[in-house]
């Protein structure tokens, strides 16, 4: 097998920390676009967070949204150019805290774009604060004694929340902690884009990712942490695929 840089990635070297999952997820998106959407119109909607410069790494159009508003901006984009493949790329602080309202309503309206939601359990760019996705017991700089559900409440399970909504066509939670799951993540992205291009409704993939920097772990240890700790709180799988009766 020939291993080369996907065509739709630019030559720019990424600013992410060594071992960060964003690089892997970017590559998976690029591979899917190269394989299935070479000629298609593509518009990405960039978030605020670690992936704020995502538009530098892909060689197609982007709209950079305000913190949490990527799904609202993507709504405006997709409604304006309905034949484009449109996806938002958002971290967990972005989509599951400040942008909860926007994502729930975009999903409810059945907006025909795909949200790629990277869950690493912290506000990474601002220095590792507790996120809505931070799991019970997890120590962060703003939950220094570990997240105590009695004090800080529980972690949010966005995918499970979105499944019952009628406008939602595809929901999956995947992970990138090993090769098998990286492959499954790619498959999920592929399917989500397909669902979108079939005009079936809103699609979202939550990808469990790592943040070696703010977790204070080596890249390898951080992957193990996903497997040993994070997966206890977030189950993987395709929760909904309307077109296939799931």
């Amino acid at each position: 097998m020939k291993f080369k840089r996907p065509d739709c990635l630019t030559k720019e070297s990424m600013h992410y920390c060594p071992g960060c999952g964003h690089g892997i997820i970017h590559r998976l998106i690029a591979e899917v676009i190269d394989e299935d959407y070479k000629e298609s119109k593509i518009i990405g909607v960039a978030p605020v967070g670690c992936a704020v410069f995502i538009y530098d790494y892909f060689n197609f159009d982007f709209v950079a949204a305000a913190h949490g508003r990527a799904t609202a901006a993507a709504t405006g984009v997709k409604r304006s150019i309905p034949d484009a493949l449109v996806f938002s790329y958002q971290g967990d602080g972005d989509i599951a805290a400040i942008g909860t309202s926007e994502v729930i309503h975009a999903a409810t309206r059945g907006e025909n774009f795909t949200a790629i939601f990277v869950n690493n359990g912290v506000y990474a760019m601002t220095g590792g604060q507790m996120a809505p996705t931070t799991i019970p017991g997890q120590v962060t700089v703003s939950s220094p004694y570990g997240r105590d559900p009695k004090v800080q409440g529980y972690h949010i399970k966005l995918c499970e929340m979105l499944v019952p909504l009628d406008g939602v066509a595809f929901v999956a939670r995947t992970s990138i902690h090993n090769l098998k799951n990286i492959e499954l993540t790619k498959k999920a992205i592929k399917r989500a884009f397909e669902v979108q291009m079939n005009n079936e409704g809103f699609s979202i993939i939550e990808v469990l990712s790592n943040c070696p920097t703010n977790w204070g772990l080596s890249p390898c240890e951080s992957m193990k942490r996903i497997e040993n700790e994070v997966l206890k709180y977030y189950s993987l799988g395709i929760f909904k695929d309307k077109g296939r009766g799931i």
Partner: protein
Amino acid sequence: MKILMKGNEAIAEAALRAGCDCFFGYPITPQTELLQYMAKKLLKSGGVFIQAESEVGAINMAYGAASCGKRVMTSSSGPGISLKQEGISYLAGAQLPCVIVNIMRGGPGLGNINAAQSDYLQATKGGGHGDYKVIVLAPSSVQEAVELTMKAFDLADKYRNPVMILGDGMLGQMMEVVEFDDSYQPQKMEKPWAVTGDRNREKRVTNSLYIVPEELEKHNLKLREKYKKIKENEVMVEEYLADDARVIFVSFGMCARIVKSAVNRLRQAGEKVGLVRPITLWPFPENELKSYASKEEVEFFIDIEMNLGQMLEDVKLSVEGKKEVHFYGRTGGMVPTIQEIMDFYYSLEK
């Protein structure tokens, strides 16, 4: 053809005639009829209408659609505009054209739903974060609202900048006879920056992030140049019986209409008074006011507003201390009467 129309609906109709492709809004009194009119008309004509989940949602949808080069409108009233300020700052930062209608009500907080001019400062001095400006147009009749709405779309495209139509609840709610110019054709402007998703050209990004300070400073200086051009070219002002006036009233929007009646009555009584009505609140007609202030026969100015003097500092800055500026205003959704304005004038003359 002349037709009787409610202000909010007339603004919506004008927007449609100006080629508005997309409307994103949220109901709030006293602007809701605008949203309703769009709901009825825009979808049918193949446009995009979304009643968003919030004002924040609406303005960010507008941001997305404006990025794609569409003609976009959103509307609200004070409390909703406060929520939209985040998005307005981003629109200005990313240099995106968008028409924002603010049919003002009383504030602060929830205030009330009566006609007021409580958002002057918010509209003209930023409101959101950063060094930016929004073009602000203040109609004083339903007919003028129609004309300014059409113009707003052209200005927004021309300068790649948000434009706000600032009216008060009275303008939105009252019915007046309006005439639409059937020969009017919306200006079609090339938008070589618009995000369309096409792959056979250089990629395009709409963005307001300039992480390197030198670059952000450069960007902001470029914006300042643009604002300078707008100031030079787009000031609109109505001067009414002001040529030989001894006392100049300054007032904007619907309030200025009441002042106009007071000016007429005072003229009948032999008083040499006139009115200067800024139509663009930003850019503010500084030079026009300055030239009146320099005239020997002008003794003083009277600023009349439906707030506690939000425009007063702009008037004073323009007058440059050359003449005194008095202020009379009602707040809380109270509307000054002609008699009150005349009484205030006479109280100063004593």
